[in-house]
Amino acid sequence: MASRLRKEGREKLTGRSQYVDDLRLPGHPEVLHGTTVRSPVARGTLKAVRFGGSIPWKDFVIVTAKDIPAIGGKNAIAHILHDQPCLVDEQINHPEEAIVLLAHPDRFLLEEARRHVTFEIDPLPAVFTIEKSLLKDPVIWGKDNTFKEFTIEKGDVDGVWQTADLIVEGEYHTGAQEQLYIEPNGMIAVANANEGVTVWGSMQCPYYVHHALTHLFALPDDKVRVIQAETGGGFGGKEDYPSMIACHAALLAWKAGKPVKIIYDRAEDLAATTKRHPSSTRHRTAVSRDGKLLAMDIDFLLDGGAYMTISTVVLSRGGIHAAGPYECPNVRIHARALATNSPPYGAFRGFGAPQSLFALERHMDEIAAKVGLAPEELRRRNFLQEGKATATGQIIREKLDLPKLLDSALQSSEFIKKRKAFQEANQDPANPIKRGMGLSTFMHGAGFTGSGEKMLASVAAVEATPAGTVRVLASNTEIGQGQRTVFAQLVADALGIDFDLVEVVQPDTKIVPNSGPTVASRTTMIVGKLVETAAISLRQTLIQSGCLAKTYTTAEFRKACGEYLSKLGALKCFSQYQQPGHIDWDDQKYRGDAYGTFAWAVYVAEVSVDLRTYEAQVDHFTAVQEIGKVVHPVLAAGQIEGGVLQGIGYALSEEVQLRNGRMANNRLTNYIIPTAADAPDIKVIFAENPYPHGPQGAKGIGELPLDGVAPAVLNAVAMALGPEAASRIHSIPLLPESLMKALDGAAESVKGERS
């Protein structure tokens, strides 16, 4: 069957879709503009706030931390811990931390006013790097700057070093990365003691926002309503920060007695909101002469920024993925998330795994070079197989054929042939363009880590309307990935009715049940399954009621819905997540089944490096992956292609430059994402292996592509530059400036002096 057309595609293509900044609230002709006044320093004690200039301050709505207890609320953004305030009271912990909120009908005057709020601050010493945070001088968070620490142990790592043929060590770094959804964050709030709080906005997780608002305002659940507007991209960046903006808008609206809209401009969005965690990873690996991994000792460190937010779970995923898709009898992964005085880091597609897998997959190439094996051969000798155990001791219970994925990738990219040709051509010192092939093999666990899904216990529903259409009720959001289309397809297929008869309701916490957040590659696999199950029970209910025969046409189905509703009232079926029986996870020891399943992949990058400008570019990219069953080929390929280009940006150009904890290049001119002129052709190949617990056999795929791109690209660059420079290429982003440095000190022949 041809892929179904995107549900809301027509609205998006004609400009009719309503994003938050496009909304007009019926019954609210006047909406105030809101803005946030932020800390200019990384750490300090707030002594005073001054409202200067010739600003008519009496016309402004002004909110500070003092207003929160005044309405009986709690000054915290509820995530895992409640350590992050909504507004600074006294202690400032990062640059751009929100201190004062302002609202006014005139947005230009509002902006003038924002510039005339100044602060008296006693600065305190601050911490800006992982290395400095480890020294605990000063301690800026908790007892020892550590948000979370855990160790995964398998076998006996320390028993191997003495006898191993080879020990290979390496240290790898990754920088922060901005999600750079093209629609900046924004929220509109209506709030008062009578009606409670209602917000509309750009978000991934309506119930996270709901949770935060109920805590901040100390309101019962039914007094808070969160409605997702059409959302222009998220990639993790609209997972937790929208809660903050919603709280800000709602505080202003409460005090103003009028709706307030806060729309960030790009500079504010870049400087203040969450990004991918910077990381530092040390590998020490024991290998036999024939290339078998004997022991892997991995120290994985994340910079979590100033507050915990969700760093602990990012650390979990990163740590669990750190040993990759390899079987090794002895593994130790020591993982720590540390505090620094930067804005808190948050979710970004991959969620810790791109960091740890970058380190591992670069390291695997280094091991291959030391052992004297081709990179693909080293990997082939160590692949996980069905029946074998991952680092957490999770036994692979599915048909897993990594050699086949590898062969497919090698063949499709002409890896071996091109590598040979490039190696020869690169010898010519007169040729300033050096080419390389690089690969990575990796996996991504779908759904929440460990017992996360069990604790979420998501609920989704499907209901029939008198017109015989079917509505899907879930809190998962359409953010570009195609959630609406896939849910509609799953329900239409489960019911055997036309796709057009299925409507996926815009998430609104007053209407949809809590099916959890739109994160963790869980929407199709976990919630899609709930939606499919609910649809099947709706069909069974109709059949059991006698309104519908066992076989039926779409027309008969519609008629049956009408009949059922007129006879019996409502027809709404719910489905709640139940953990598949095979999953067994120990949260304390980090042992067992970390995920219900994994998607598996082999990626190949073909690059060229211009030695005159030290610029590396990706010329071709091949992405081979097994993602269970592909339920929607166009959307699935779209996920991979988009993720691959984000990964290329992560590898080669996207640098968050921090100066005293603050992003210095917070403009699109200076934070460099790839354009249409920079994108390589991306070949996407799917292998299929239906996952019995996913809808139509699907696994999660959204994050997978981010995990393997950067190491494949850097491995290719390393090959292009030759072994001496390669050993210096351990960090991303690999900007031309850093590539130049990597070449310095490497052999003159590599430098390409053409004389």
Binding site: F108, E111, A664, N665, R667, N670, A676, S755
Partner: protein, 292 residues
């Protein structure tokens, strides 16, 4: 939007005389506004200082490209899109075409003007190295009349120019080139489009039948407070036959004129090294031309 839009007064004169009158009556009060691609960005950031702007979009005398016997005269408001669409101009000056195509992306090229790029006086202006290599001349018009100046003398320091109060750039003239030049333009940006240059280079060279360089023009952007002609290197090369020793010599000469900085886009060291590499690359290209 961080600019206080209501605070900006903008006038749109309908003729050059009217525009110059504005500038004359209140010296320094009015800031010319051409395609807006620089000033509107400053407005967005809330740092556009001039509150009174003179939009030149309706001044017909500043538009159009005309070919004369030995030169092309390009109206100040000519956009980079119009430059690329002008077949004769592009045939005569491929360097200018390449520079125009390297500006931002198409939607920027359709608004950004040549004179705006010059008057903004950024050392990273994309047109600067090409105009320098092409020996451009600028017509500066004022209430009193107009004068022609050499473009290479125009940028007198970081963001400083020869423009006097009351003066506008009216046109840019490019003398036609004799045939037989080797040319190169290279913008090293942060990406392939929508980039601000980290290093930009434009070069022109011509050899006599005996291999001697009869003319060589080398221009760089983004590696000093202004874009500049590498005059020391040029004079080392002038009249000589290119060989590897001479190329090394030219690179050494260039070193003295490079005063790049570290900033948010790149490092001084990178800019210096790439400048030298691009010079070497161009000279090798010139050397090999006609040798094979």
């Amino acid at each position: 939007m961080r600019g206080n839009i209501p605070a900006y007064d903008v006038r749109a004169p309908k003729s050059l005389t009217e525009a110059l009158e504005f500038l004359h009556r209140e010296p320094g009060a009015w800031k010319p506004l051409a395609g807006g691609t620089d000033l509107m960005v400053l407005l967005e950031m809330g740092v556009l200082e001039h509150k009174r702007l003179l939009s030149l979009h309706a001044v017909p005398e500043l538009k159009g490209i005309r070919e004369e016997k030995d030169r092309f005269v390009i109206g100040a408001l000519t956009t980079f899109g119009e430059i690329q669409a002008h077949a004769e101009l592009c045939r005569e000056f491929p360097l200018l075409r390449e520079a125009a195509a390297s500006v931002g992306a198409i939607a920027i090229q359709n608004r950004a003007t040549l004179a705006g790029n010059i008057a903004n006086a950024s050392p990273a202006a994309d047109s600067a190295p090409a105009l320098l290599a092409l020996d451009a001349k600028l017509e500066l018009a004022s209430h009193e009349g107009s004068r022609w100046v050499e473009y290479r003398a125009f940028h007198t320091g970081y963001k400083k120019t020869l423009l006097q109060q009351g003066e506008l750039i009216r046109a840019i003239a490019l003398p036609k080139l004799a045939p037989g030049y080797v040319h190169a333009f290279r913008k090293v940006g942060t990406r392939k489009a929508q980039a601000i240059s980290k290093v930009a280079f434009a070069g022109l060279a011509r050899k006599a039948p005996d291999g001697k360089l009869t003319e060589v023009r080398l221009a760089f952007g983004s590696v000093a407070p202004t874009a500049f002609r590498a005059t020391t290197a040029e004079s080392r090369l002038q009249g000589r036959v290119l060989d590897l020793a001479l190329i090394r010599d030219a690179k050494q000469a260039l070193q003295q004129q490079l005063t790049p900085i570290d900033d948010v886009r790149s490092t001084a060291e990178y800019r210096r090294r790439v400048s030298l590499n691009l010079l070497e690359d161009f000279l090798l290209q010139a050397k090999n031309r006609g040798e094979a």
